[in-house]
């Protein structure tokens, strides 16, 4: 039952944390949560780490590779999207500030 408790609480945390998001951030946020479900790679690691027959090796390796694509690609793409929101330094400041190393 402990796991069910954790599950139900996590459902509510998910609802609470996400409410009232500006439309602007919907795509990046979807992409970030998409990267987070790459956590399933952990299951792939465990399954592969304890595997002991040929087909399980193959399945496990593919699962780990899929999970890694999900995680690495997901976080990187999100970072690229959000990089566009970063405040860029004013051209003036950057040209003046170049003097000192």
């Amino acid at each position: 039952m402990t796991e069910i408790t954790i599950f139900v609480l996590a459902v509510f945390v998910g609802f609470e944390v996400i409410s009232k998001v500006p439309t602007t951030l919907h795509t990046p946020l979807m992409s970030q949560t998409n990267a987070i479900h790459g956590i399933v790679m952990l299951a792939g690691l465990i399954v592969l780490g304890y595997a002991d027959d040929g087909l399980e090796y193959v399945i496990g390796t593919i699962a780990v590779a899929f999970g890694a694509i999900n995680i690495v690609g997901g976080f990187m793409v999100t970072d690229r999207m959000l990089g566009m929101f970063a405040k860029k330094p004013k051209p003036k400041a950057s040209s003046d500030g170049k003097g000192g190393a």
Binding site: T23, I39, I69
Partner: protein, 471 residues
């Protein structure tokens, strides 16, 4: 060399998993605000790193060669794909990453079943049920996401594709899946692997058949829904493996993804079940499109557009998917810069579903250095429209169609729109009068205060910017 190995399910591993999912929660929370979103993503990534390292240090892990092979291939593909992808292609990239996540879940479920059967012991139901759930949902998500990717990438037609009697076929498939699940659960002392594989295959077919009939316009909602599904299936895998990090992270994605899906569907005034079970702009409503008869419209050139804009006090730019396709964001920003030099107020009206995903336009415009404050959401800009001199529609279509408000029989009736026709004048930059995603004609083009500028958005904007500079 590595002494600090953790017992699976032991205190140390659990503590680190708690750290990991706490970082996920903080990361998502910060992802909801523009100033902290980038940091939030990094925090979540750190959480993921903690979770992965913890798992690698679990006692008894082996097959290191294969683990690093999988990690290496996956990381390389992920890095290369996300560096090379164009900003316009972000939605399909998310679909693809979601798909591989679902695929991983389905494979893990299969492996768990094999492992359980090979041990020859009774499969406890509290392990078997999550495994079955993970297998079915993961498989649906994998194939559904791939179809969504293919549609957005124009590998297959974006229009709804449906066979006659499709609903019946889907229902039969779903029923078959449920029956097999029950058989597997009843026979939990020695579940059949063949039956489980059949289950994965049926779920794969269902994933294909459910997404194929959905039109391109609804794809964002579908991807968001599949994202939530993949999260839930990851949580199910967590139940099977007693892994608290998977349960919490998967569930977080499941519930947050559900909210996001509902928000998107609301913005389009469509229910999720409507999207899933009826093709938007499908066969019945497609009639209005390609008839030879042309209604009268006003067509202008870049110079006229430049003059109208330069002598306005306030201008609202309404971007759509056409802007993304033409990569016109920088050229549009130039137009805005020229106008601002002349003291014209320029704002951008962002429809919640403009582009192919909520926030799609914002990302593109931010890339062109448009200030966040100038991006106005629909509810904010609509009351301003009547006080706007010129509204410029760049590659947007359905989201400006007054039929949504005026014609109760229109397929998009009731969808909230950006009320550009309220503005004094409207300039529509578009390549032709052809209908948008919804496959219906746009009455806006034929209104007396609308001028059509037929051109590629990027070329037209560049021309307008230089014309304004010359005035």
């Amino acid at each position: 060399m590595v002494e600090a190995v953790f017992q699976p399910g032991g205190d140390a591993a659990t503590a680190l998993y708690i750290v990991a999912f706490s970082l996920f929660i903080i990361g998502i929370k910060q992802g909801t605000h523009p100033t902290t979103a980038k940091r939030g993503n990094l925090i979540a990534a750190v959480g993921m790193a903690v979770a992965i390292v913890t798992t690698l240090l679990l006692d008894g892990m082996g097959n290191w060669g294969l683990i690093f092979l999988g990690l290496g291939i996956g990381t390389a593909v992920g890095v290369i794909a996300s560096i090379r992808v164009q900003m316009t292609e972000m939605p399909q990239m998310v679909a693809l990453y979601n798909g591989v996540g679902g695929g991983a879940v389905a494979l893990i479920a299969w492996s768990e079943i094999r492992h359980g059967i090979s041990l020859g012991e009774d499969f406890p139901l509290d392990e078997l049920i999550p495994v079955i759930f993970a297998g079915v949902v993961g498989s649906v998500s994998f194939w559904g996401s791939n179809i969504a990717f293919a549609k957005l990438q124009d590998l297959i037609p974006t229009r709804p594709i449906a066979a006659p009697g499709q609903q019946v076929i889907n229902a039969v498939l779903l029923l078959a899946i449920v029956v097999i699940c029950v058989i597997l659960a009843v026979d939990h002392e020695s579940p059949s692997q063949g039956l489980f594989i059949l289950l994965l295959v049926l779920a794969a077919i269902l994933g294909n058949l459910v997404v194929l009939p959905i039109g391109g316009a609804d794809m964002p909602v579908v991807i968001s829904l599949l994202n939530a599904f993949t999260g839930l299936s990851a949580a199910a895998a967590g139940f099977a493996l007693d892994n608290v990090a998977l349960i919490v992270a998967g569930t977080l994605v499941g519930s947050s993804g559900t909210i996001l899906t509902l928000e998107m569907a609301t913005a389009m005034n469509r229910s999720v079940s409507n999207i899933l079970f009826s093709g938007f702009g499908g066969a019945p409503s497609g009639g209005g499109g390609g008839t030879g008869e042309e209604k009268p419209h006003v067509s202008i050139g870049a110079q006229d557009a430049a003059i109208k804009l330069a002598y306005a006090d306030s201008v609202v730019i309404v971007p759509g998917y056409g802007l993304a396709v033409a990569q016109a964001q920088h050229a549009i920003k130039e137009v805005a810069d020229e106008l601002e030099k002349r003291g014209v107020t320029v704002n951008y009206a962002i429809h919640p579903v403009a582009g192919r995903m909520p926030g799609h336009m914002n990302v593109l415009l931010a890339e062109a250095d448009v200030a966040y404050e100038n991006l106005k959401e629909m509810e904010e800009i609509n009351p301003e429209m009547s006080r706007t001199d010129v509204a410029v529609v760049v590659g947007a279509n359905d989201v400006t169609n007054p039929a949504a408000k005026n014609d109760p029989d229109s397929p998009i009736a009731g969808m909230p729109i950006i009320e550009v026709s309220e503005a004094q004048e409207v300039i529509v930059i578009k390549r032709s009068l052809s209908p948008g995603f919804a496959g219906i004609d746009n009455d806006l083009f034929y209104e007396p205060n609308t001028s059509m500028l037929f051109a590629d958005a990027k070329a037209a904007a560049a021309e307008i910017a230089s014309e304004i500079g010359n005035l």
